[in-house]
Symmetry: C2
Subunit: 277 residues, 2 copies
């Protein structure tokens, strides 16, 4: 599989960074990830806006414009011919001379296969546990997933599928997903603070507004437990129903009808955006 590393094309197996990269030394870098559907990148403009913002907040002056990234991405898609896949653009802190300071960033662009399930009823419903945590600089998609990776054995031991971060009784996000509740009154609500603003989250808010009231605001743990339906969203997950949080059934413990409707709206939006409808 072809990949792009600092201006050069190479096989992914040959793509390496020297050990003084600030990612390896201090876990410092940002990235973004978007899907490729029928050889077209999905919602790439939104992802590039977020990537450029992440890099800027993190003082990573990489010198690539979004147009340049798009040209590289298109060439990557052309070279690899992997119709259903994901592309990750990573920008690390670069080769540091003092093991602490940011340098000229390293740019890595890779493509990997992604298998999507278009039939909502076939997607596994998730059980979540909660953990008291807020990510550092949550609006930035940094490479710092230390807490999420570290919690994996805890999630597994609890027989759960993922972990929801909670602070002062308010929910925020999962390590790699946003969360939504649908109230008994039929309103769609998602936290708006201490979260990474997902592109799928944005598309859901837009699409769902045609069938229900939507709101971005703080959501307490109690509201989550009281909700009629709960689901999470992510680029590779689209919409996944949540049927249990901390061992307590959410809603009636089954994937919800409104969640299914939102899944279908999202699917439609994906198809529209790539001109496949």
């Amino acid at each position: 599989m072809w990949c792009f590393l600092n201006g050069e094309w190479m096989d992914m197996a040959d793509a390496k960074l020297a050990i003084n990269d600030l990612g390896i030394q201090r876990g410092y870098g940002v990235f973004d990830f978007f899907r490729v559907m029928n050889n077209a990148p999905l919602f790439i403009d939104d992802h590039l806006v977020r990537l450029q913002r992440s890099a800027s907040v993190m003082h990573l002056q990489h010198g690539y414009s979004s147009e340049e990234f798009k040209t590289i991405v298109n060439e990557l898609i052309h070279k690899n011919q992997m119709p259903s896949s994901g592309i990750r653009i990573t920008i690390t802190g670069g080769y540091t001379t003092d093991s602490y300071s940011i340098s000229q960033p390293n740019i890595i662009i890779t493509q990997t296969p992604v298998v999507m399930q278009d039939d909502f009823s076939q997607n596994k419903a998730f059980r979540l546990i909660t953990h008291n945590y807020v990510r550092d600089l949550p609006s930035v998609k940094s490479i710092n997933y230390m807490m999420g990776v570290w919690l994996q054995p805890v999630v597994k031991a609890a027989g759960a599928d993922d972990v929801l971060y909670v602070k002062n009784n308010f929910i925020s996000e999962l390590p790699r997903s946003n969360i939504f509740i649908i109230t008994k009154q039929g309103m769609l609500i998602t936290p708006n603070e201490q979260v990474l603003k997902g592109v799928t989250r944005k598309n859901i808010l837009q699409a769902a507004s045609s069938i229900m009231q939507v709101k971005e605001r703080a959501v307490s743990l109690e509201e989550l437990h009281d909700a009629e339906e709960v689901f999470i969203s992510a680029t590779t997950k689209r919409v996944i129903p949540v049927v249990e949080v901390d061992g307590k059934m959410t809603g009636d413990g089954k994937p919800g009808k409104r969640t299914a409707a939102i899944f279908e709206l999202l699917l439609q939006k994906e198809k529209q955006s790539t001109g496949c409808e």
Copy 2:
């Protein structure tokens, strides 16, 4: 310069990790760093105990015993002949297949020159700013220094030398140093919670107990500002006086006499430990 990477000896310039390393992908790994003085490793047992503990807490099953690490370190010192230096052992989450799960860790052992100043009066006194933060898993020496690296321009803009983390009005540590206060009553106090337990910190507490009362307990920001003397400690810094915090002079704004005495005790302890006295 020789280094050790996953069982092989190579020049540091040739030491590289494939881009699917979990350090690069998710900032996941641990390390430790100790000095070499007259070609002897300094307090290596303490550092290896901490490294093994960090790896264990972070689920990094690397398979190297402390004795094996010591053998490699001794060979590295022998190969490089760099009498005054620092050795870093890094253990990353390994080559991940799903970009999120821990795999067989990658082990990197490098040696770099370190110049130490043995004359306390020649060491620059530090000015600090504070930042509202506690590290994730602070007792673990992870590679996650995102906040410290990110704050560097803020530190610089404030004309300061480093940043002190504070939460709920209590001080904890700097990104790479511990902090101590000496009260007007002549007691040495250092925070004992939400900190990485430094080896230099440990040596200072031991050495200073011969000349003053020492205590590990919570320290408020007010106590810091009221202190007679303030200093920080780290492997490459030994003892550095702090003369200003958030623009406010600490003590009389000059390096303190007791701080100087502790520096000398630490120097003595270093010499004793390598049999150079």
